[in-house]
């Protein structure tokens, strides 16, 4: 009994002992499996996981560049960046949001719009990110908050650089403005380079030179935790700031041109013929571009949009007007260049012109006719019949080819975004656009700058500069050079020019002389603007209004005013050594000689220095 019991016990002990050994083996095997798995993760796949771990903790943050400034010809600041202050609340640091906002309201006004924006942004941002409760704090509000700031943990004043245009209305049309980047902008820009940037040029120079002004984005490598909070900066590549732009635009001339236009709707463009630099680019009326930077209110925008004077409309580059008689010097030159007329050839003006076999009378502006006159007299007195005859003789193709050389019918390529190209009609164009054949009568009215013929003020100014330059056509530009902020080294933009072929140089002498006589001759249509200080060459123009292209319903009292002719004048000075070429357009201004020419004189005076027009100088009603 004892033996068997002892035997049983020994057997039982052996069972358990053998099981312990088996268990030990199994445990070892299981641990080896675990180790294999860990070796796979830590040795074999280590590189892979090391990268994942790095990606987890390192984030790349864009550092946006500061936008370049814009200066005028005399280094006066036209566009700079001002800090704008907003009040931001960081949710995780605010003990009681409701109370905090109530308390804030006692020192800084917060309206319903602020509240709804706050509620919307709060949902989009992380708890440790600031959410603006008020934008555009005034300096007083900033100061008032600063005094009480200690009572508001988690509430901070946040500064952002906002584009400002100190001269506001004066620069709105040439410079345009910047605004918040929208969906459409995103399709045209290098999105990476705009990471962290909120604003982009929306028009004018701001848009045309966007690449120069914007600069290149920089990057910051930061370490973040799982919730995205930034813990420290590991590495950073500073941004390349946007370059400053130095313009040809001269605020003295711009101001003089704006004042000259006064209450007129219209445009004045002044160009330096020596380099194509735009000295003034005025479209009247104008608007305050600063309204658009932070997002204009709907009410303000509606007011601008529905203003019958169309302040948002950049007449200088987008206004397409019949050039009227201002094209006569160019057509006259074309006649000489193509041999279709000579200096001596005379034409009899009975007050009208008829095509052979047709009864329709194409009228001269002077009902009684000019009698017999040559090219010089035809330019000085702006005889329509002479140019009907010349245009008829040249034919539309020769006219089209020659006038194209002066840039009519094409965009000038000026560095102000949004330019339109006008219209220099041709039989091909008419066939394409209207599906109609070209009629000989239409050639005649092209000869006096009417009919389908449309040109922008900037086209007229540049063509005038080319005339002053004896055929050297220079692409107009506002920007002269770019410069890195804080540096003195300037990098000039290239001058792009071409030579217009007008045959003998005597042809240029003839037309320049004729244009000078428009101002200086006793019968000149702009003789009232003659200056004692320098010689001006010019040409008046009057464009009939029947397609103003505006759909608004204006009041009865204004209708008659809006039906009046547009007054035009082109000029350059001094005749011997031209330094300024000007195109003036006054909508519904009446006659070019009486309305537009004096404005050009004011602009030229502002640039060349001279006396103001004396009121005693008589009015002239010639065209």
């Amino acid at each position: 009994m004892l033996e068997s019991s002892l035997e049983d016990r020994r057997r039982e002990q052996r069972i358990v002992a053998s099981r312990a050994i088996v268990a030990g083996v199994l445990v070892t095997l299981a641990l080896c499996a675990t180790l294999l798995r860990l070796a796979h993760l830590q040795v074999e796949e280590h590189e892979h996981y090391a990268v994942l771990s790095q990606d987890n903790r390192v984030k790349i943050l864009p550092v946006p560049p500061t936008r370049g400034f814009i200066y005028d010809a005399k280094e006066r600041l036209l566009a700079d960046n001002h800090p704008s202050f907003s009040l931001e609340i960081t949710m995780e640091s605010v003990p009681d949001l409701q109370r905090t906002i109530e308390e804030l309201e006692r020192i800084i006004p917060i309206d319903d719009k602020d509240r709804s924006r706050f509620a919307r942004l709060k949902r989009q941002r992380m708890r440790f990110q600031g959410v603006p409760i008020r934008l555009n704090l005034t300096p007083t509000e900033v100061a008032r908050f600063a005094v009480d700031a200690h009572r508001f943990p988690g509430v901070e004043v946040h500064a952002e650089l906002i584009r400002t245009y100190p001269l506001a209305e004066l620069t709105a049309h040439p410079l345009g403005y910047v605004g918040r980047i929208n969906e459409r902008d995103l399709t045209t820009i290098d999105v990476g380079n705009y990471a962290g940037t909120n604003f982009i040029g929306k028009g004018g120079v701001e848009k045309a030179h966007e690449d120069v002004l914007h600069g290149r984005v920089g990057y910051q490598q930061v370490e973040v935790n799982a919730r995205g909070r930034i813990l420290r900066t590991l590495e950073s590549t500073p941004p390349t700031p946007g370059q400053d732009l130095l313009l040809y635009l001269d605020m003295d001339i711009q101001k003089a041109a704006t004042e000259a236009l006064g209450d007129y709707r219209g445009s004045i463009v002044a160009v330096d013929p020596r380099n194509g630099g735009v000295l003034a680019l005025v479209s009247n009326p104008s608007y305050d571009p600063n309204l658009f930077v932070q997002g204009i209110s709907q009410a303000d925008y509606d007011a601008l949009l529905h203003d019958p004077d169309k302040p948002l409309y950049n007449r200088a580059i987008r206004g397409q007007y019949p050039p009227g008689s201002t094209v006569k010097p160019f057509i006259g030159l074309g006649g000489l260049a193509t041999g279709m007329t000579t200096v001596a050839k005379t034409i009899h003006c009975p007050g009208y012109f008829t095509l052979p076999g047709q009864s329709h009378r194409f009228r001269c502006w002077r009902r009684g006719g000019h009698g017999s006159l040559n090219l010089e007299e035809a330019i000085v007195q702006s005889c329509d019949v002479y140019f009907y005859s010349l245009a008829n003789h040249m034919g539309i193709r020769r006219l089209h080819t020659f006038l194209t050389q002066f840039g009519f019918g094409e965009r000038t390529g000026i560095d102000v975004s949004g330019e339109l190209g006008g219209l220099l009609p041709s039989p091909e164009w008419k066939e394409r656009a209207r599906k109609q054949p070209w009629y000989p009568g239409e050639t005649l009215i092209v000869g006096i700058g009417q009919g389908y013929f449309l040109a922008t003020p900037v086209q007229l100014a540049v063509a005038t500069a080319a005339m002053a330059n004896r055929g050297r056509y220079i692409q107009p530009r506002l920007a002269r050079a770019k410069r890195l902020p804080g540096e003195t080294k300037e990098s000039e933009f290239p001058l792009i020019s071409r030579q217009i072929d007008a045959g003998s140089s005597r042809n240029w002498d003839e037309l320049i002389k004729d244009m000078a006589l428009v101002v200086e001759g006793p019968r000149g249509t702009a003789k009232r603007i003659r200056s004692p200080h320098y010689r001006i060459a010019g040409k008046t123009g009057t464009a009939q209004v029947f397609t103003i292209g505006q759909k608004e319903t204006y009041q009865d009292s204004k209708v008659s005013e809006r039906m009046r002719d547009h007054a035009l004048f082109i000029a350059f000075a001094p005749v011997e050594d031209p330094r300024i070429a000007v195109a003036v357009l006054v909508e519904n201004g009446g006659h070019g000689g009486s309305t537009a020419a004096p404005l050009a004189r004011q602009v030229i005076d502002a640039y060349l220095g001279g006396s103001r027009l004396s009121p005693s100088e008589e009015a002239d009603h010639g065209d």
């Binding site: 004892l2 019991s5 002892l6 049983d8 039982e12 002990q13 069972i15 358990v16 002992a17 099981r19 312990a20 050994i21 268990a23 030990g24 445990v27 070892t28 299981a30 641990l31 499996a33 675990t34 180790l35 798995r37 860990l38 070796a39 993760l41 830590q42 040795v43 796949e45 280590h46 892979h48 996981y49 090391a50 994942l52 771990s53 790095q54 987890n56 903790r57 370490e223 973040v224 935790n225 799982a226 919730r227 813990l231």
Partner: protein, 376 residues
Amino acid sequence: MGIKPVSSRLGANETQPEIGLFRRLHIDLTLLVALLALCGFGLIVLYSASDQDPGTIQRQLIRLGLAIGLMGAIAQIPPQTLRRWSPALYGVGVLMLLAVLVVGEIGKGAQRWLDLGVFRFQPSELLKLAVPMTLAWLLSSRPLPPRLLGISLALALTMVPVLLIAKQPDLGTSLLVASAGIAVLFMAGLSWRMILGFVIVAAAIAPLVWYGMHDYQRARVLTFLDPQSDPLGTGYHIIQSQIAIGSGGISGKGWLNGTQSHLEFLPERHTDFIFAVIGEEFGFTGILALLALYLFIVMRGLLIAARAQDNYGRLLAGALSLVFFVYVFVNTGMVSGLLPVVGVPLPLISYGGTSMVTLLTAFGILMSIETHRQIK
């Protein structure tokens, strides 16, 4: 009765001169040193995993001190006494589980705790000890290997608390309790044919069920495996812990330098996922050392089981050692992506007092079994 003189004589002749201070204090020095090394390493890792929070270390140290004290106290209790208490402990445990369920039912939510006023007690922890103790008590009262009746009784005694705990729901604990029951049966010499039968049945059914399911059903099963965690969060946990371990490489990023844990990408980094912190900061080398230490402790436990004086001690020591190993295997497997996420801590390293008390009590029992041997 008959063997008393034999062992007495043996003890007198052979072990009397060897009896040292620790033996008299009923402390197994080998096990104690290994456990202290493990706990010390645990504190070092915890310091890093808790973002160097002295409060966390202090609380863990206090718990550790108390648990070690408890271990020493338990070690004084002779195995025979423990054996007598076993069924009663089991009964109390199951009653408390029922109480928890009733309270949970009233509270309309998952309930694991029993609030005893002074401290909160988790009855399921008690069952981690009571189940192997009771099964050892049951099986050691009959000859080994157990017959069908004994096996059936043992399985029934195991399943009752396992199901009650699973209903809480706390799958991690119920898994550990079930493994404790199975471990006792295994140690008792459950025939290989039977074990093979169980394994084959389980292996045959599992994939059939698994592959017969739709993806969303599988996802539900995985979610069921750990109902406490956010189903969307589970994947994130696994991915981040694998990144932590993998990025540690062979030598690790260095103590306090783990970016995954310090930058909070790693969830539960000072509790269930602390193993990933070790992998990240100490690398494969550190993990190898840690697993070696665990293996040593398990082997020491199995040795104690093999040379225990009676069947109760043998079965209990073996089962407790194996449950300790199951902790290690399930936790490391879960953190390294081998096993689904089940809430099982890394023994003696994860932050938290409950599992530490249970584990060190178990080691107290092991010490008692080892040190009460052959001494009268």
